[in-house]
């Protein structure tokens, strides 16, 4: 590998003329169209959000008020609940996706029957409209006539009020999120497991390792890049999650299933643009403060082979 790289580099240097030096075939202006769109609609809003979050901003006027929005954010119980719920939602959904995704992937890379059907059926919800999924499960989770509680009643279990009980509403939505997203975690793990060189499995077999030992000492450590991807992707998605919660509970009952993203929307709707943007800044800080150290940690502790 190293030698091919070196020869390639040498051949480039040997390429005719100073042409490559004076005028590259890879001009920087290729960045330009993307850079314009990205700067105007992503970088500028992100940077200005720090200023706007320090203002009292309504439809009519804007006034600099320092950190008042943030003070309000951390004093208002409903908003603090949103912050706490965001963390719970992110951790629960990504945790379940890692565990279930890995188990499903192990099953679906083994010699199980109907593998193709199972892979398709687990993955398809990933592609379906989140709003549609939300409405469907709102109907299925109806405490009186919903299919879930009716089925539970058949085996003598008194099902809970999934979406109207304040203590479990958020977790019910998180479960639906896992239902919709576990297919993605599964295919990521399948790609990771399939890329493990066969020799490791063969060596494990020669050593007489049991199925569980094969899982524990071969698949688990060697599928680590997949674990990293699943954790990071589902945390990024989970922490900023909005669609499903909005479709199923709109943050209710009360504010018990509000997350930061739904607080941002509610404040925006109410015309408190400064407070809404402060919510955005809080979310920004939360996401980067979690994702970047986690990313470093997961990538640094890679296995040495």
């Amino acid at each position: 590998m190293a030698t091919t790289l070196r020869t390639r580099r040498e051949s480039r240097q040997a390429a005719p003329g100073g042409r490559a030096k004076t005028k590259s075939s890879y001009p920087y202006w290729f960045y330009l169209p993307a850079a314009v769109v990205y700067t105007v609609l992503f970088v500028v809003p992100t940077l200005t959000s720090f200023y706007f979050s320090l203002t009292r901003w309504t439809l009519f006027d804007m006034e600099f008020i320092g950190l008042e929005n943030f003070v309000e954010f951390f004093e208002e119980p409903a908003l603090v609940t949103g912050l706490k719920n965001t963390l719970i939602y992110g951790v629960v959904t990504s945790g379940l996706k890692v565990v279930l995704g890995l188990l499903l992937a192990v099953l679906l890379t083994s010699q199980v029957i109907a593998r193709g059907y199972l892979r398709s059926v687990v993955f398809f919800p990933v592609l379906v409209s989140t709003i549609g999924v939300g409405f469907t499960f709102t109907a299925l989770m109806d405490p009186e006539v919903g299919l879930i509680n009716e089925s539970l009643a058949l085996i003598g279990i008194d099902g809970p009020s999934w979406l109207t009980d304040p203590s479990i509403a958020l977790l019910s939505v998180a479960l639906v999120d896992v239902w919709k997203g576990v297919g993605l975690a599964t295919v990521i793990y399948i790609a990771g497991i399939v890329s493990i060189p066969r020799e490791y499995f063969e060596a494990a077999q020669v050593d007489g390792a049991s199925a569980f030992k094969r899982f524990r000492h071969v698949i688990l450590p060697l599928a680590r890049p997949a674990t990293t991807t699943v954790i990071i992707l589902s945390l990024i998605g989970g922490l900023r999650s909005f669609d499903l919660i909005w479709a199923m509970t709109r943050g209710g009952p009360g504010f018990t299933s509000d997350v930061i993203a739904s607080v941002i929307y509610k404040q925006y709707q109410a015309g408190f643009y400064g407070l809404s943007t402060a919510g955005n800044v809080v979310l920004f800080v939360l996401v980067t403060a979690i994702i970047i150290p986690l990313w470093r940690f997961l990538n640094r502790k890679g296995v040495d082979l």
């Binding site: 920087y28 290729f30 769109v37 809003p45 409209s129 409405f135 929307y265 943007t277």
Partner: protein
């Protein structure tokens, strides 16, 4: 013995998958087929009457053919924004992978930021208003492009590593300008990854709810997801129509899934192996 246990495990998996994954979809179809009264009971049962055609007519005609407008808007939004994403991201990925310089680090950092940082909503509206693009389809298209670029660039960049440099050099020696080199020599070779980007981003943009909610609140620019959401309050007592709408909106991704299953999975699992 092992064969038998394998079969049992398979049968169990199939049974669980039917209950967990197929029943909700069956529920959508059954409710969409039912008449108004029967559907409002939310039962998982075989329909007494088959009213699907009638339901479709009613949903489509509702609110002055709003759903048709929404389908047109969503199609335009998806096609235009994904096309722009593909071209812009491929150009960035090309230079990013080929030309190492002090810019490489900056661009990489920006790309990763785009993946991680949640977009700031109100400031984006403020920018769009300044450009007179708020509540317009072109505005929403550009927003989707801006937010989708990062992921597309990553996919293209990874793929360019597999396109031999010698090819560029040969084209340059033959006198190709950078534009010709890119669009006539390199771009056609990107077909596999281009298909992946198109399919993954199309599904993503078509299913997007948050950005249309914020950036095109007006009725004339509504997308299908927004329409579905607004139908909920209107069809509160007409579950058959709500689920007919869900059914109709699920068809485009279903078609994508049937034809491009492999590319979708390839795109979404990129990064799983190398981390």
């Amino acid at each position: 013995m092992r064969g038998a246990s394998r079969t049992w495990l398979g049968l169990l998996a199939i049974l669980v998958s039917v209950v967990v994954f197929l029943v909700p979809f069956a529920f959508i179809v059954l409710t969409a087929v039912k008449g108004r009264q029967e559907a409002s009971l939310l039962q998982f049962s075989w329909p007494d009457e088959f009213a699907l055609v009638d339901n479709i007519q009613q949903v489509v005609a509702a609110r002055d053919y709003m759903l048709l407008t929404a389908f047109v808007n969503s199609t335009v939004l998806t096609v235009v924004s994904v096309s722009l994403m593909v071209i812009l991201a491929a150009m960035v990925g090309f230079v990013l992978q080929r030309r190492r310089s002090r810019w490489t680090k900056v661009v990489n950092l920006l790309v990763l930021s785009g993946l991680i940082i949640p977009p700031a909503v109100v400031p984006t509206i403020w920018v769009l208003q300044g450009l007179s693009l708020f509540d317009t389809l072109p505005g929403l298209i550009l927003v989707e492009v801006a937010f989708g670029l990062s992921f597309s660039i990553l996919l293209f960049q990874a793929f360019f590593a597999t396109v031999p440099r010698e090819l560029d050099e040969a084209a340059v020696i033959d006198g190709a300008s950078p534009l010709r080199l890119f669009f006539q020599v390199v771009f056609p070779l990107l077909r596999p990854v281009t298909v992946t980007v198109i399919v993954v981003q199309s599904v993503h943009v078509f299913n997007d709810f948050v950005h249309p909610l914020y950036f095109t609140p007006g009725e004339e620019n509504a997308t299908v997801q927004l329409t579905l959401f607004n139908f909920q309050s209107q069809f509160a007592s007409q579950m058959n129509l709500l689920f007919t709408d869900i059914l109709l909106i699920t068809i485009p991704p279903l078609i994508m899934f049937m034809f491009f299953n492999r590319q979708i999975v390839a795109g979404m699992t990129a990064g799983a192996v190398k981390g």
